[in-house]
């Protein structure tokens, strides 16, 4: 007990020295507090967002993985044919693989980790004389009225370019029609969605009737009202026509963010998106398959089919990220081939939104480390000087019968009390400064990140979305299977970064600061202890005499 009393007395008697140590400890504490707060804020933001994040995932063909498995690393094939990338084999594999069937999707939906499951069927159809797509290209209108080809894509399938068995249809048709398995699949119309009905109502769930809803723009453009009939034709066979009834007109605020409009294909313009039920669209696809005719091009010897091209995609919903990661394992157990991969646009978007904060958190971690190392070195040096300065005191105390260990403990207590006081003051200052400092730094990070993105967009001459999921489809070969399931804003161009954090000063940060104080005290005190233990009282006192 007297050691503590003595230590406190000694602190008061060497104010100058202890204030100096205190200031250094204070600087370390404030810096450490801000650093820890930033890290804590990042962690809290991550945890709280992940807790509330409803994760959705899709299964898609892992083209990149297949290419790398096939040795496609950019090597040029050798003369004997070895090495390099085998384009023919790859094309063949792509043709064989394609997307999964609905039955397969449903099998994977049986995994325990899945909380909800829905799917969509997409197809591309052309309009008719009285029903034309909305297009910004003035040349579209005249040629589209023919009903066979998409004028904005000269040389499209109907125009004689002849893609491969309808696979390129989506890029050259007038309309993109999506059939939803149920109301839950229409995420754009959910409470936090971007779309809403302005007239009429959404078609009945699961109906086989040819009911559809169209965009306000499309309705205005063609002077269509609820209850009117619209006619579509198969782009591969103009004689194959289907008549739908417009039961609702909708508007979508995210419409202008569609990254696919750059392709110039009218079907990719969100104004030309028509929604119906899965059952209705499936009926059309089946009918088209039944009446399909296969032709062979005499010049290229390639086969073409008039079958309506369609694509099915499924979305799995999970309650949390753990379930999502579990699902990745479950689908493999349920037999999903390695050629397919599970991905979540929500998680990617979340990771993107966290990017500036995570970067700041990492920087804060390094900053903290540097501060601690430099701070510890300064404190050690100061303590060595202090102990040398107090050599006589050590000699007297040990000559009086105080054990060296107790003398060292007293010195340690002094450092700890000073450091603790500095940490308490530092925690208060740091707690107050953490939010503004962190937000200012975060703003810089966001600005820097946004500038990079803007520069990329500028370089591309259009919106580009790296890592957001859509970039993978920029080749325009097929309609992305999950374009409608991904919440708007998550993929549409620039990421929505976390731009502000609240003060993350909590018990964890306080405990961490306390840990730092103890660590610094121990590091600095250990050196003091070594010096104290080394001193011989007789030598000290004799030399003084």
């Amino acid at each position: 007990m007297y050691i503590i009393k003595n230590a406190i007395k000694c602190i008061g008697r060497a104010k100058g020295r202890n204030i100096l140590i205190g200031i250094i400890a204070l600087v370390i504490a404030v810096s450490a507090c801000i650093g820890l707060c930033i890290r804590q804020a990042a962690e809290s933001a991550r945890e709280s967002t992940l807790e509330t994040l409803s994760v959705t995932a899709t299964i898609s063909f892992d083209r990149q993985s297949m290419m790398s498995q096939m040795g496609g690393r950019g090597e040029k094939p050798s003369e004997n044919g070895g090495g390099g990338f085998d384009k023919d084999s790859f094309k063949e594999m792509m043709g064989q693989s394609g997307s999964l069937s609905l039955e397969e999707y449903q099998t994977y939906a049986k995994a325990d980790s899945v909380s909800d499951f829905y799917y969509t069927l997409s197809a591309s159809l052309n309009g008719s004389e009285n029903f034309e797509p909305v297009s910004t290209d003035s040349s579209d209108t005249d040629s589209t009225s023919g009903g066979n080809s998409a004028p904005s894509m000269p040389g499209g399938f109907g125009g004689g370019m002849g893609g491969g068995r309808g696979q390129m249809m989506g890029a050259q048709s007038d309309f993109s029609i999506v059939g939803f398995s149920g109301d839950n699949a229409m995420t754009a119309f959910s409470s936090d969605g971007t779309a809403s009905i302005t007239d009429g109502a959404v078609f009945d769930e699961g109906t086989e009737n040819y009911d559809c809803i169209i965009t306000e723009e499309l309705a205005t453009f063609n002077e269509i009202a609820v209850g009117d009939a619209i006619e579509f034709t198969n782009p591969n066979n103009e004689d194959e026509a289907y008549t739908f009834t417009v039961v609702g007109i909708y508007t979508d605020t995210a419409a202008n963010q569609d990254a696919f409009s750059f392709m110039g294909a009218t079907s990719t313009d969100s104004a030309n998106k028509i929604y119906t039920s899965y059952a209705a669209l499936k009926k059309i696809v089946d009918a088209s398959e039944a009446s399909a005719v296969t032709k062979t091009d005499e010049d290229t010897d390639r086969e073409y089919t008039t079958e309506l091209s369609s694509n099915i995609s499924a979305t799995y919903v999970f309650e949390n990220t753990d379930d999502y990661y579990q699902f990745e394992e479950d689908v493999r157990d349920l037999g999903l081939d390695e050629k397919y991969s599970v991905s979540s646009a929500d998680l990617k978007a979340f990771e993107n939104s966290m990017l500036p904060l995570e970067t700041l958190s990492t920087m804060a971690g390094y900053f903290l480390l540097v501060i601690l190392i430099i701070g510890a070195i300064i404190l050690v040096v100061l303590n060595i000087l202090t102990v040398r300065e107090r050599k006589y005191e050590i000699g007297v105390l040990t000559a009086m019968g105080m054990k060296k260990a107790k003398v060292a403990l007293q010195f340690l207590t002094e450092i700890f009390v000073v450091t603790l006081a500095a940490v308490i003051v530092g925690a208060v200052i740091g707690g107050v400064c953490a939010s503004p400092v962190a937000n200012a730094l975060l703003e810089n990070q966001v600005t820097s990140q946004s500038s990079q993105m803007q520069q990329i967009d500028k370089n591309f001459g259009r919106d580009q979305n790296f890592g957001g999921g859509k970039g993978g489809f920029s080749g325009g070969e097929m309609t992305p299977p999950d374009d409608l399931e991904i919440p708007e804003g998550m993929l549409g161009g620039a990421a929505e970064y976390i731009t502000e954090i609240n003060s993350a000063m909590n018990i964890t940060v306080v405990l961490q600061l306390l840990g730092i104080a103890v660590l610094l005290t121990l590091v600095a005190g250990l050196v003091s202890m070594l010096f104290v233990m080394r001193y011989d009282p007789l030598k000290i006192l004799s030399n003084r005499d």
Binding site: Y2, N6, K9, C10, R13, A14, E393, G395, V396, L397, T398, A399, M400, G401, M402, K403, P537, L538, L541, R544, D545
Partner: protein, 220 residues
């Protein structure tokens, strides 16, 4: 019966012998003086007696127990009170704090240590105001008194004093010696180290340390 006895104690600094076969007995209730010329090893002997230095050979018995078998910190803090020539007080502490700290190191159980310390300081001639003054602001004689009070604070049986009157004027010297006399009369063993004949004359017994003349073989 001797409270402290030295048997054939030798000590050397490296190869230089300082003490050789020193055998003394010290009893309670007596005042001893160890005299000798400069360099005779008086202070060295005091360091050995106080446990700050260890004899090269021979034994030192405290109440018939070899002090090597006693914890040296415990020996210094409880059984022996040392008054150093340069006082060795904690200069940033007050006189009172120096005495109280000494009691705390010794583990004195008294609750009112400050009162006891004040009494001791008064007994050696320091009033309350002086007791609460920082040591550095006290005169040499006052510091000597603080050192004596500190040595008495834990009621040690043996009091060792190195040149206790060396820096003091005649009156103070006399007063200090009277304090030592009264301590001896109260039953303590007081051992003074001095080269002063006057101090020696006031003690009950004197031991003279002779300087060891080292033969220089090479020169021979």
């Amino acid at each position: 019966m001797a409270v402290l006895s030295l048997k054939n104690v030798c000590f050397s600094y490296g190869k230089t012998p300082v003490l050789q076969d020193v055998s003394y007995d010290f009893e309670k209730g007596k005042m001893y003086c160890i005299v000798g010329k400069s360099g005779a090893g008086k202070t060295t002997l005091l360091s050995i007696l106080s446990g700050l230095a260890e004899a090269s050979s021979g034994s030192i018995m405290y109440n018939d127990k070899d002090i090597k078998k006693i914890d040296k910190y415990k020996f210094r803090s409880k059984y022996i009170g040392v008054i150093f020539q340069s006082y060795n007080l904690l200069t940033k502490f007050t006189a009172l704090e120096n005495v109280v700290l000494s009691m705390e190191i010794a583990g004195v159980k008294k609750i009112k240590k400050a009162e006891k310390a004040l009494e001791l300081l008064e007994s050696v001639g320091l009033d309350e105001d002086e007791a609460n003054r920082r040591v550095l602001k006290l005169s040499g004689g006052q510091q000597q008194r603080v050192a004596i009070a500190r040595a008495l604070s834990y009621d040690a049986e043996i009091i060792l004093a190195d040149e206790p009157t060396g820096n003091l004027d005649a009156d103070t010297q006399r007063e200090i010696m009277e304090i030592f006399r009264s301590l001896a009369e109260s039953g303590k063993c007081v051992i003074l180290v001095s080269h002063s004949a006057e101090v020696a004359s006031m003690c009950d017994e004197c031991y003279e340390l002779k300087r060891i003349i080292q033969k220089n073989i090479k020169r021979k």
